[in-house]
Protein backbone atom coordinates (compact mmCIF):
# COMPACT_ATOMS: atom_id res chain seq x y z
CA UNK A 1 0.00 0.00 0.00
CA UNK A 2 2.89 2.30 0.89
CA UNK A 3 4.06 2.18 -2.75
CA UNK A 4 0.71 3.33 -4.01
CA UNK A 5 0.82 6.35 -1.72
CA UNK A 6 4.21 7.47 -3.01
CA UNK A 7 3.76 10.53 -5.21
CA UNK A 8 0.25 10.95 -3.88
CA UNK A 9 0.60 14.67 -4.58
CA UNK A 10 1.17 14.09 -8.29
CA UNK A 11 -1.53 11.44 -8.45
CA UNK A 12 -4.15 13.66 -6.83
CA UNK A 13 -3.08 16.81 -8.69
CA UNK A 14 -3.39 15.01 -12.02
CA UNK A 15 -6.82 13.62 -11.26
CA UNK A 16 -9.18 14.71 -8.50
CA UNK A 17 -7.55 18.08 -7.83
CA UNK A 18 -6.66 18.99 -11.40
CA UNK A 19 -9.26 21.76 -11.54
CA UNK A 20 -8.73 22.99 -8.00
CA UNK A 21 -6.21 25.80 -7.89
CA UNK A 22 -5.80 29.26 -6.44
CA UNK A 23 -6.44 31.45 -9.45
CA UNK A 24 -5.93 35.15 -10.20
CA UNK A 25 -9.56 35.91 -9.42
CA UNK A 26 -9.21 34.56 -5.89
CA UNK A 27 -5.97 36.48 -5.42
CA UNK A 28 -7.61 39.71 -6.56
CA UNK A 29 -10.55 39.05 -4.30
CA UNK A 30 -8.27 38.69 -1.26
CA UNK A 31 -6.32 41.83 -2.18
CA UNK A 32 -9.52 43.72 -2.64
CA UNK A 33 -10.81 42.61 0.77
CA UNK A 34 -7.74 43.87 2.56
CA UNK A 35 -7.60 47.16 0.62
CA UNK A 36 -9.75 49.11 3.05
CA UNK A 37 -8.03 47.65 6.04
CA UNK A 38 -4.66 48.62 4.70
CA UNK A 39 -5.71 52.23 4.30
CA UNK A 40 -7.06 52.56 7.84
CA UNK A 41 -5.60 50.27 10.44
CA UNK A 42 -2.19 49.15 9.37
CA UNK A 43 -0.44 52.38 8.52
CA UNK A 44 -0.51 53.06 12.25
CA UNK A 45 0.55 49.52 13.09
CA UNK A 46 3.46 49.69 10.68
CA UNK A 47 4.67 52.86 12.32
CA UNK A 48 3.98 51.68 15.84
CA UNK A 49 7.35 50.01 16.33
CA UNK A 50 9.29 53.04 15.13
CA UNK A 51 7.14 55.35 17.27
CA UNK A 52 7.74 53.13 20.28
CA UNK A 53 11.52 53.15 19.70
CA UNK A 54 11.46 56.92 19.32
CA UNK A 55 9.44 57.34 22.51
CA UNK A 56 11.74 55.06 24.52
CA UNK A 57 14.85 56.83 23.21
CA UNK A 58 13.35 60.25 24.00
CA UNK A 59 12.43 59.21 27.53
CA UNK A 60 15.93 57.79 28.00
CA UNK A 61 17.64 61.03 26.94
CA UNK A 62 15.21 63.17 28.94
CA UNK A 63 15.98 61.00 31.97
CA UNK A 64 19.72 61.52 31.54
CA UNK A 65 19.20 65.25 31.01
CA UNK A 66 17.03 65.43 34.14
CA UNK A 67 19.60 63.51 36.17
CA UNK A 68 22.43 65.77 35.00
CA UNK A 69 20.33 68.89 35.63
CA UNK A 70 19.46 67.68 39.13
CA UNK A 71 23.11 67.03 39.90
CA UNK A 72 23.92 70.55 38.75
CA UNK A 73 21.06 71.96 40.88
CA UNK A 74 19.49 73.53 37.82
CA UNK A 75 15.95 72.71 39.10
CA UNK A 76 16.53 74.15 42.56
CA UNK A 77 14.01 77.00 42.07
CA UNK A 78 11.26 74.85 40.74
CA UNK A 79 11.26 72.13 43.43
CA UNK A 80 8.16 73.58 45.02
CA UNK A 81 6.23 72.81 41.85
CA UNK A 82 6.80 69.08 41.97
CA UNK A 83 3.09 68.36 42.21
CA UNK A 84 2.25 70.19 39.03
CA UNK A 85 1.25 66.92 37.43
CA UNK A 86 -1.31 65.39 39.76
CA UNK A 87 -1.16 61.65 40.32
CA UNK A 88 -4.89 61.35 39.80
CA UNK A 89 -4.47 62.37 36.20
CA UNK A 90 -2.18 59.44 35.50
CA UNK A 91 -4.49 56.98 37.21
CA UNK A 92 -7.44 58.40 35.31
CA UNK A 93 -5.71 57.82 31.98
CA UNK A 94 -5.03 54.19 32.83
CA UNK A 95 -8.57 53.57 33.91
CA UNK A 96 -9.93 54.95 30.65
CA UNK A 97 -8.41 52.10 28.65
CA UNK A 98 -11.58 50.09 29.06
CA UNK A 99 -14.67 51.92 27.97
CA UNK A 100 -17.77 51.80 30.11
CA UNK A 101 -20.50 49.95 28.32
CA UNK A 102 -24.09 50.08 29.41
CA UNK A 103 -26.54 47.61 28.01
CA UNK A 104 -30.08 47.89 26.84
CA UNK A 105 -32.25 45.19 28.35
CA UNK A 106 -32.53 42.13 26.09
CA UNK A 107 -35.89 41.23 24.56
CA UNK A 108 -36.29 37.50 24.05
CA UNK A 109 -37.28 36.78 20.44
CA UNK A 110 -40.13 34.29 20.21
CA UNK A 111 -39.06 31.38 17.99
CA UNK A 112 -42.46 31.41 16.28
CA UNK A 113 -42.11 35.04 15.35
CA UNK A 114 -38.64 35.60 13.95
CA UNK A 115 -38.97 38.50 11.57
CA UNK A 116 -36.12 40.40 9.96
CA UNK A 117 -37.24 43.54 11.81
CA UNK A 118 -37.16 41.95 15.27
CA UNK A 119 -33.81 40.27 14.63
CA UNK A 120 -32.21 43.43 13.25
CA UNK A 121 -33.58 45.52 16.06
CA UNK A 122 -32.26 43.12 18.69
CA UNK A 123 -28.84 42.85 17.05
CA UNK A 124 -28.41 46.58 17.57
CA UNK A 125 -27.64 45.81 21.18
CA UNK A 126 -24.69 43.63 20.25
CA UNK A 127 -23.16 45.28 17.17
CA UNK A 128 -21.53 48.69 16.61
CA UNK A 129 -24.02 51.29 15.44
CA UNK A 130 -21.95 52.31 12.41
CA UNK A 131 -22.21 48.73 11.14
CA UNK A 132 -25.98 48.63 11.38
CA UNK A 133 -26.32 52.02 9.71
CA UNK A 134 -24.57 50.60 6.66
CA UNK A 135 -26.37 47.43 5.70
CA UNK A 136 -28.24 48.36 2.54
CA UNK A 137 -28.85 44.84 1.26
CA UNK A 138 -31.06 42.16 2.73
CA UNK A 139 -31.61 38.68 1.37
CA UNK A 140 -33.66 35.81 2.69
CA UNK A 141 -33.07 32.22 1.63
CA UNK A 142 -35.32 29.35 2.53
CA UNK A 143 -33.39 26.12 2.42
CA UNK A 144 -34.08 22.67 3.71
CA UNK A 145 -36.51 23.68 6.49
CA UNK A 146 -34.18 26.47 7.55
CA UNK A 147 -34.01 30.16 6.83
CA UNK A 148 -31.04 32.40 6.26
CA UNK A 149 -31.25 36.14 6.83
CA UNK A 150 -28.33 37.95 5.23
CA UNK A 151 -27.71 41.65 5.66
CA UNK A 152 -24.76 42.98 3.73
CA UNK A 153 -22.90 45.84 2.16
CA UNK A 154 -20.68 45.40 -0.89
CA UNK A 155 -17.91 47.49 -2.39
CA UNK A 156 -19.15 49.80 -5.15
CA UNK A 157 -19.40 47.97 -8.50
CA UNK A 158 -18.10 44.77 -7.03
CA UNK A 159 -19.26 41.48 -5.57
CA UNK A 160 -16.87 41.81 -2.66
CA UNK A 161 -18.49 42.24 0.72
CA UNK A 162 -17.49 45.03 3.07
CA UNK A 163 -19.42 43.43 5.86
CA UNK A 164 -22.33 41.07 6.38
CA UNK A 165 -24.50 39.56 9.07
CA UNK A 166 -25.68 35.98 8.65
CA UNK A 167 -28.45 34.59 10.82
CA UNK A 168 -29.73 31.02 10.39
CA UNK A 169 -32.78 29.67 12.17
CA UNK A 170 -35.49 27.04 11.85
CA UNK A 171 -38.69 26.18 13.69
CA UNK A 172 -36.69 25.37 16.84
CA UNK A 173 -35.15 28.82 16.96
CA UNK A 174 -31.76 30.36 16.15
CA UNK A 175 -28.96 28.06 15.07
CA UNK A 176 -26.14 30.30 14.01
CA UNK A 177 -25.18 33.94 13.78
CA UNK A 178 -22.01 35.43 12.33
CA UNK A 179 -21.00 39.03 11.79
CA UNK A 180 -18.15 39.23 9.27
CA UNK A 181 -16.25 42.43 8.72
CA UNK A 182 -14.03 42.63 5.65
CA UNK A 183 -13.34 46.37 5.79
CA UNK A 184 -12.26 46.65 9.43
CA UNK A 185 -13.72 50.12 9.40
CA UNK A 186 -14.78 49.96 13.02
CA UNK A 187 -14.40 52.31 15.92
CA UNK A 188 -12.27 50.75 18.65
CA UNK A 189 -14.34 50.12 21.75
CA UNK A 190 -12.32 47.97 24.12
CA UNK A 191 -14.33 46.05 26.63
CA UNK A 192 -13.22 43.93 29.56
CA UNK A 193 -14.06 40.23 29.88
CA UNK A 194 -16.56 41.09 32.61
CA UNK A 195 -18.42 43.42 30.29
CA UNK A 196 -18.22 40.83 27.52
CA UNK A 197 -19.58 38.20 29.88
CA UNK A 198 -22.61 40.38 30.57
CA UNK A 199 -23.01 40.91 26.82
CA UNK A 200 -22.99 37.14 26.29
CA UNK A 201 -25.65 36.61 28.96
CA UNK A 202 -27.85 39.26 27.38
CA UNK A 203 -27.30 37.84 23.90
CA UNK A 204 -28.36 34.40 25.14
CA UNK A 205 -31.54 35.89 26.61
CA UNK A 206 -32.30 37.56 23.28
CA UNK A 207 -31.58 34.73 20.87
CA UNK A 208 -31.67 31.39 22.71
CA UNK A 209 -34.79 29.73 24.04
CA UNK A 210 -34.42 29.60 27.84
CA UNK A 211 -31.15 31.47 27.36
CA UNK A 212 -31.50 32.95 30.83
CA UNK A 213 -30.99 29.47 32.25
CA UNK A 214 -27.64 28.95 30.56
CA UNK A 215 -24.44 29.37 32.47
CA UNK A 216 -21.52 30.47 30.30
CA UNK A 217 -17.85 29.79 30.93
CA UNK A 218 -15.09 31.78 29.25
CA UNK A 219 -12.82 29.22 27.53
CA UNK A 220 -11.26 28.74 24.09
CA UNK A 221 -13.61 27.42 21.39
CA UNK A 222 -14.11 27.67 17.66
CA UNK A 223 -10.45 27.72 16.61
CA UNK A 224 -10.79 29.71 13.42
CA UNK A 225 -12.16 32.76 15.23
CA UNK A 226 -10.72 32.44 18.73
CA UNK A 227 -7.88 34.76 19.56
CA UNK A 228 -6.82 35.09 23.16
CA UNK A 229 -7.78 38.45 24.66
CA UNK A 230 -9.02 39.68 21.29
CA UNK A 231 -11.87 37.40 20.24
CA UNK A 232 -12.88 35.41 23.31
CA UNK A 233 -15.46 32.65 23.48
CA UNK A 234 -18.04 31.71 26.09
CA UNK A 235 -19.37 28.16 26.19
CA UNK A 236 -22.43 26.70 27.89
CA UNK A 237 -23.68 23.13 27.86
CA UNK A 238 -27.23 21.97 28.40
CA UNK A 239 -29.29 18.96 27.28
CA UNK A 240 -26.42 17.55 25.23
CA UNK A 241 -26.09 20.81 23.33
CA UNK A 242 -23.14 23.18 23.33
CA UNK A 243 -23.77 26.90 22.99
CA UNK A 244 -20.85 29.07 21.86
CA UNK A 245 -20.93 32.86 21.85
CA UNK A 246 -17.85 34.80 20.75
CA UNK A 247 -17.17 38.43 21.56
CA UNK A 248 -14.66 40.75 19.94
CA UNK A 249 -13.08 42.52 22.92
CA UNK A 250 -11.24 45.12 20.83
CA UNK A 251 -14.33 46.48 19.16
CA UNK A 252 -16.92 45.42 21.72
CA UNK A 253 -19.41 43.36 19.78
CA UNK A 254 -20.80 39.84 19.54
CA UNK A 255 -19.14 38.26 16.53
CA UNK A 256 -20.44 34.71 16.43
CA UNK A 257 -22.93 32.33 17.96
CA UNK A 258 -23.72 28.68 17.27
CA UNK A 259 -25.48 25.71 18.81
CA UNK A 260 -24.02 22.29 18.21
CA UNK A 261 -24.46 18.76 19.49
CA UNK A 262 -22.13 18.08 22.38
CA UNK A 263 -20.77 14.94 20.73
CA UNK A 264 -18.95 17.20 18.26
Amino acid sequence: MENKLINLKDKMNETLLRDIYFNDKLEQSVLSSIKNKKSRVFPFRNKFNSLLSLAVTTVFFLGIAYFVATQLNLFKDSQGNNASVPKEKIIETTNNETANTSFEEPNAINKDDISKETVFSELKKYLPQNVLDNMPNFRQEDLNESTLYLWSKKEPNSDNFIHKIEVIFNENGFKQYHYKNYSFDLKENKISKDVANKMVENFAKSFISDGDQLSFVNKPAWDSLYEKDVVESWVSEKDNKEYIVMVNLSYGYVEFFTIQDKSN
Binding site: Y21, E27, K175, D223
Partner: protein, 180 residues
Amino acid sequence: MIEEINSSKVEPPNYFNREDKLKWLMRTYGNDVIRVAYTYLKQRQLAEDVAQDVFIKCFEKMDDFRNESSYKTWILKITVNKCKDVLKSWAFKNLLFTDYFGNNQEDRTIESKLLKKEESQLISQQVMELPLKLREVIILFYYQEFSIEEISVLLKVNSNTIKTRLHRGRLKLKQSFEGE
Protein backbone atom coordinates in the same frame (compact mmCIF):
# COMPACT_ATOMS: atom_id res chain seq x y z
CA MET B 1 -3.63 29.52 -13.07
CA ILE B 2 -0.96 31.10 -10.91
CA GLU B 3 2.38 29.44 -11.32
CA GLU B 4 3.43 27.53 -8.26
CA ILE B 5 6.71 28.65 -6.73
CA ASN B 6 9.06 26.01 -5.36
CA SER B 7 8.03 25.41 -1.73
CA SER B 8 11.60 24.84 -0.66
CA LYS B 9 11.99 28.61 -0.86
CA VAL B 10 10.36 29.05 2.50
CA GLU B 11 10.88 32.70 3.34
CA PRO B 12 9.72 35.81 1.52
CA PRO B 13 12.53 38.35 0.98
CA ASN B 14 13.04 40.74 3.90
CA TYR B 15 12.50 43.84 1.80
CA PHE B 16 8.91 42.81 0.98
CA ASN B 17 6.18 44.94 2.51
CA ARG B 18 3.06 43.35 3.98
CA GLU B 19 1.15 43.26 0.72
CA ASP B 20 4.09 41.81 -1.20
CA LYS B 21 4.42 39.13 1.49
CA LEU B 22 0.75 38.30 1.15
CA LYS B 23 1.10 37.99 -2.63
CA TRP B 24 4.14 35.78 -2.11
CA LEU B 25 2.19 33.59 0.31
CA MET B 26 -0.73 33.30 -2.10
CA ARG B 27 1.51 32.34 -5.00
CA THR B 28 3.63 29.94 -2.99
CA TYR B 29 0.95 28.27 -0.90
CA GLY B 30 -2.33 29.20 -2.61
CA ASN B 31 -2.69 25.84 -4.33
CA ASP B 32 -1.73 23.94 -1.17
CA VAL B 33 -4.30 25.86 0.86
CA ILE B 34 -7.20 25.44 -1.56
CA ARG B 35 -6.41 21.79 -2.26
CA VAL B 36 -6.07 20.86 1.40
CA ALA B 37 -9.34 22.70 2.02
CA TYR B 38 -10.95 20.71 -0.78
CA THR B 39 -9.77 17.41 0.69
CA TYR B 40 -11.56 18.39 3.92
CA LEU B 41 -14.73 19.93 2.50
CA LYS B 42 -15.11 18.16 -0.88
CA GLN B 43 -16.74 21.26 -2.34
CA ARG B 44 -14.95 23.64 -4.63
CA GLN B 45 -16.92 26.75 -3.62
CA LEU B 46 -16.40 26.15 0.08
CA ALA B 47 -12.70 25.45 -0.48
CA GLU B 48 -12.39 28.77 -2.34
CA ASP B 49 -14.16 30.63 0.48
CA VAL B 50 -11.89 29.04 3.05
CA ALA B 51 -8.77 29.87 1.01
CA GLN B 52 -9.79 33.53 0.84
CA ASP B 53 -10.51 33.68 4.57
CA VAL B 54 -7.18 32.01 5.30
CA PHE B 55 -5.18 34.62 3.39
CA ILE B 56 -7.14 37.50 4.89
CA LYS B 57 -6.33 36.08 8.31
CA CYS B 58 -2.67 35.69 7.30
CA PHE B 59 -2.56 39.37 6.37
CA GLU B 60 -4.06 40.33 9.72
CA LYS B 61 -1.66 38.13 11.67
CA MET B 62 1.47 38.65 9.59
CA ASP B 63 3.14 40.80 12.23
CA ASP B 64 2.53 38.10 14.83
CA PHE B 65 4.32 35.41 12.82
CA ARG B 66 7.49 34.66 14.78
CA ASN B 67 9.19 32.01 12.63
CA GLU B 68 8.54 29.40 15.31
CA SER B 69 7.26 27.20 12.51
CA SER B 70 7.61 27.43 8.74
CA TYR B 71 5.23 29.64 6.78
CA LYS B 72 3.79 26.49 5.27
CA THR B 73 2.99 24.92 8.66
CA TRP B 74 1.54 28.21 9.93
CA ILE B 75 -0.68 28.74 6.92
CA LEU B 76 -1.88 25.14 6.75
CA LYS B 77 -2.66 25.19 10.47
CA ILE B 78 -4.96 28.14 9.86
CA THR B 79 -6.47 26.26 6.90
CA VAL B 80 -7.08 23.06 8.87
CA ASN B 81 -8.69 24.97 11.77
CA LYS B 82 -10.90 26.91 9.40
CA CYS B 83 -11.99 23.73 7.57
CA LYS B 84 -12.79 21.95 10.82
CA ASP B 85 -14.94 24.83 11.96
CA VAL B 86 -16.79 24.79 8.65
CA LEU B 87 -17.31 21.03 8.97
CA LYS B 88 -18.61 21.49 12.51
CA SER B 89 -20.93 24.29 11.55
CA TRP B 90 -24.60 23.67 11.61
CA ALA B 91 -24.95 25.35 8.23
CA PHE B 92 -22.55 22.91 6.57
CA LYS B 93 -24.25 19.85 7.96
CA ASN B 94 -27.80 20.95 7.34
CA LEU B 95 -27.79 23.30 4.41
CA LEU B 96 -24.98 22.19 2.22
CA PHE B 97 -24.81 18.46 2.56
CA THR B 98 -27.50 17.88 -0.06
CA ASP B 99 -25.54 19.91 -2.61
CA TYR B 100 -22.39 17.97 -2.02
CA PHE B 101 -24.13 14.63 -2.14
CA GLY B 102 -25.72 15.45 -5.48
CA ASN B 103 -22.54 16.67 -7.10
CA ASN B 104 -20.47 13.93 -5.65
CA GLN B 105 -22.73 11.20 -6.90
CA GLU B 106 -22.61 12.66 -10.37
CA ASP B 107 -18.85 13.11 -10.34
CA ARG B 108 -18.34 9.65 -9.01
CA THR B 109 -20.49 8.07 -11.66
CA ILE B 110 -18.82 9.91 -14.52
CA GLU B 111 -15.35 9.49 -13.20
CA SER B 112 -15.71 5.90 -12.24
CA LYS B 113 -17.05 5.07 -15.68
CA LEU B 114 -14.29 6.88 -17.52
CA LEU B 115 -11.30 6.36 -15.30
CA LYS B 116 -12.00 3.32 -13.22
CA LYS B 117 -8.87 1.53 -14.30
CA GLU B 118 -6.61 4.43 -13.76
CA GLU B 119 -4.68 3.85 -10.57
CA SER B 120 -4.07 7.50 -9.75
CA GLN B 121 -7.73 8.27 -9.98
CA LEU B 122 -8.62 5.28 -7.90
CA ILE B 123 -6.17 5.98 -5.10
CA SER B 124 -7.19 9.66 -5.03
CA GLN B 125 -10.84 8.75 -4.67
CA GLN B 126 -10.14 6.20 -2.00
CA VAL B 127 -8.16 8.72 0.00
CA MET B 128 -11.06 11.16 -0.27
CA GLU B 129 -13.48 8.53 0.98
CA LEU B 130 -11.49 7.82 4.14
CA PRO B 131 -13.00 9.07 7.41
CA LEU B 132 -11.82 12.62 8.16
CA LYS B 133 -9.40 11.70 10.96
CA LEU B 134 -7.59 9.19 8.76
CA ARG B 135 -7.86 11.28 5.60
CA GLU B 136 -6.25 14.36 7.13
CA VAL B 137 -3.13 12.52 8.32
CA ILE B 138 -2.77 10.71 4.98
CA ILE B 139 -3.06 14.03 3.14
CA LEU B 140 -0.66 15.87 5.44
CA PHE B 141 1.89 13.03 5.45
CA TYR B 142 1.81 11.80 1.85
CA TYR B 143 0.39 14.78 -0.04
CA GLN B 144 1.94 17.68 1.89
CA GLU B 145 4.94 15.60 2.97
CA PHE B 146 4.95 16.85 6.55
CA SER B 147 6.80 14.82 9.20
CA ILE B 148 4.94 13.06 12.02
CA GLU B 149 6.17 15.75 14.43
CA GLU B 150 4.99 18.57 12.16
CA ILE B 151 1.56 16.96 11.81
CA SER B 152 1.45 16.50 15.57
CA VAL B 153 2.02 20.26 16.07
CA LEU B 154 -0.34 21.21 13.26
CA LEU B 155 -3.24 19.10 14.48
CA LYS B 156 -2.43 19.41 18.19
CA VAL B 157 -2.51 15.62 18.46
CA ASN B 158 0.06 13.29 20.09
CA SER B 159 2.59 11.89 17.59
CA ASN B 160 1.78 8.28 18.56
CA THR B 161 -1.85 8.95 17.69
CA ILE B 162 -0.72 10.29 14.30
CA LYS B 163 1.26 7.08 13.71
CA THR B 164 -1.74 4.96 14.67
CA ARG B 165 -4.04 6.93 12.35
CA LEU B 166 -1.54 6.64 9.50
CA HIS B 167 -1.40 2.89 10.03
CA ARG B 168 -5.19 2.62 10.14
CA GLY B 169 -5.49 4.84 7.08
CA ARG B 170 -3.07 2.70 5.07
CA LEU B 171 -4.87 -0.43 6.21
CA LYS B 172 -8.23 0.90 5.18
CA LEU B 173 -6.89 2.01 1.81
CA LYS B 174 -5.37 -1.43 1.28
CA GLN B 175 -8.69 -3.08 2.05
CA SER B 176 -10.63 -0.86 -0.29
CA PHE B 177 -7.99 -1.23 -3.00
CA GLU B 178 -8.19 -5.00 -2.77
CA GLY B 179 -11.96 -4.76 -2.85
CA GLU B 180 -11.95 -2.99 -6.22
